[in-house]
């Protein structure tokens, strides 16, 4: 508590026709942190962000951005926005548009340096936008969002459709923003992205927040995990569990796949392996997996995160 809030959303509601896209959604974004709004497509992430950006009006509830109404024009130089739909003029060139946007800010970043930073140098910078690749378009959008040195940046699906390299460039840029003290709000349906980048994750499903917290908290302190291995079928799992701490669980899946879950630390792994050795079980493909945000999401909603 006592944290400075960059964004505060309380009981937000937005309905399109009969569909309730956002249904009483509340969350807070602490200043200087990276917050990810994580959820499947259609969960209401974009609508929520668009209300915070001032593009849409909520039917009920409130959103405050940097202490002001999202529609307050005085917010414009302080807030950077990466538009999901691109937000570009198809016939204009990358450097033209970036320079134009930069010129609207008092102390913008150097457009050339920024273009170089996102890999849009030489021909791509002077190519009409419509001829850029999907990844280049995306990176230009990102550059336009940050060129004005905003205090707060909204990134709507920043890595959707990017190849691995462009994705990592984007992640690096988000890390740099965080280091510079910029508050970042990003939406994603990629849980690895949320886990890697976010200080705080807000999991959204069907227009509501189902959980919020640091990724490690959401995953149950990081100790919760699974040990998986393969072995010939029909092991006596009851006997295995007597060798493990109370609260551990073990299941057999088809094809001789075993999943033992609990507080997976070195002692846990050693105990399982010792039991296998003592009972002559030839365990192969032994893997330790931590609970992912995906598991959290499935637990909370009963549905898959990735479509």
């Amino acid at each position: 508590m006592g944290e400075i809030l960059a964004v505060e959303v309380v009981d937000l509601v937005k309905t399109y026709g009969r569909a309730r896209a956002v249904d009483g959604l509340s969350f807070e974004v602490p200043a200087g942190k990276v917050t990810a709004l994580l959820g499947p497509n259609g969960a209401g992430k974009t609508t929520t962000v668009e209300i915070c950006e001032g593009f849409r009006r909520a039917d009920a509830g409130t959103a405050r951005v940097l202490g002001a109404d999202p529609r307050d024009p005085r917010l414009r130089p302080r807030v950077g926005v990466m538009l999901q739909s691109g937000g570009m003029y198809p016939g204009a060139k990358a450097d033209e548009m970036l320079r134009l946007v930069a010129a609207h800010h008092a102390h913008p970043l150097d457009p050339d340096a920024l273009l170089a930073r996102v890999g849009l140098v030489g021909a791509p910078a002077r190519t009409p936008f419509r001829r850029l690749s999907g990844g280049q378009k995306q990176l230009l959008s990102l550059a336009m969002a940050v060129v004005g040195r905003p205090e707060l940046v909204f990134l709507d699906e920043p890595t959707a459709g990017l190849d691995v390299r462009a994705r990592h460039d984007t992640w690096d840029l988000v890390e740099q923003l965080r280091s510079a003290g910029v508050t970042v709000v990003l939406t994603t349906h990629a849980m690895d992205e949320a886990e890697k980048l976010a200080d705080q994750v807000v999991i959204i499903n069907r227009g509501r927040v189902v959980a919020a917290g640091a990724p490690i908290e959401l995953k149950g302190g990081g100790a919760d995990g699974e040990l998986r291995f393969r072995a010939p079928g029909r092991l006596d799992l009851g006997q295995l569990l007597t060798a493990l701490p109370v609260g551990s669980r073990a299941v057999e899946r088809a094809g001789g796949h075993y999943i033992v879950s609990g507080t997976v630390d070195a002692a846990f792994v050693a105990a399982v392996m010792a039991w296998c050795a003592n009972n002559g079980v030839p365990a192969t493909d032994v893997r330790v997996e931590q609970r992912s945000l995906e598991d959290v999401f499935v637990d909370l909603t009963g549905s898959e995160l990735t479509p």
């Binding site: 593009f55 849409r56 807030v79 538009l83 739909s85 937000g87 570009m88 003029y89 609207h104």
Partner: protein, 248 residues
């Protein structure tokens, strides 16, 4: 930031993009030039209204070319909206007034070559020999008469979608040209239709130019029609811009 600077910067951005696609510019110059040559080949010195056919058709075709250019702004706006550029602009400090001003300047800059081309052609073919002052004054009045059409172009940009903007705006310019007495002189219209045409802005653009050539001026009636249309269409255009930014 200085609003004039902001407008100038956006206008420059606009111009660079217009300059990059010269196909439209060439089309908007050639079409009226060819039509002028065809329509005046036989009877350039016959009387039509208060002046002769040559200068009459010259003004009609100049205003036709200029009209195509200012209305074409709508097509560019429809494209911008489809690409989400209008949302990007909403995130900057550019106001609706500055945006629309830039659009109008862009449309008029595009209109000028078409107008000049027809004037030069009429002189070169010896079908309208006027003093430099008369050319300038007639051209200026034709452009003043374009103001409501420039607003209409912007408004159309918010009414049409990018994928059918070309056809709709092309059809609209033909309709305007027909209704403005550009292709068929109003003098040859039935009485009731001429009255309708005279309530529309397109007619007054040409009429304003022709009155100059006849040694007169367009008169308060024409100025009033142009002003009312400019205000109404301009207001609607500004409102569409504001509404589009909100929903887009």
């Amino acid at each position: 930031m200085n609003p004039v600077m902001v407008t100038a910067r956006y206008t420059r951005f606009e111009m660079a993009r217009i300059g990059r696609n010269p196909r439209f510019l060439i089309f908007s110059m050639f079409l009226p030039v060819i039509m002028f040559a065809a329509f005046t080949s036989a009877d350039a010195t016959d009387a039509l209204g208060d002046i002769t056919v040559g200068p009459y058709i010259m003004v009609s075709m100049a205003s036709f070319g200029a009209m195509m250019s200012v209305v074409s702004t709508g097509g560019r706006i429809a494209l911008e909206r489809a690409g989400g550029w209008s949302r990007q602009l909403r995130l900057t400090a550019l106001t609706s007034g500055q945006y629309i001003t830039s659009k109008i300047i862009g449309g008029f800059t595009l209109a000028l070559p078409a107008l000049v081309a027809v004037f030069v052609e009429a002189y070169a073919l010896d079908r309208a020999r006027l003093s430099i002052g008369t050319y300038l004054e007639a051209g200026l009045w034709v452009l003043i008469g374009m103001l409501p059409l420039a607003a209409l172009g912007i408004l159309l940009g918010y009414l049409v979608r990018a994928d059918n903007a070309g056809q709709l705006i092309g059809g609209m310019t033909s309709l305007l040209a027909l209704a403005g007495g550009v292709w068929v002189p109003v003098e040859q219209f039935p009485h009731w239709l001429a009255d309708v045409v005279k309530a529309l802005p397109m007619y007054w653009s040409g009429q304003a130019g022709r009155e100059v050539i006849a040694g007169s001026w367009v008169g308060w009636h024409g100025v009033l029609v142009l002003a009312v249309w400019t205000l109404v269409l301009g207001r609607l255009a500004a409102r569409s811009y504001a509404r589009d930014q909100l929903r887009a």
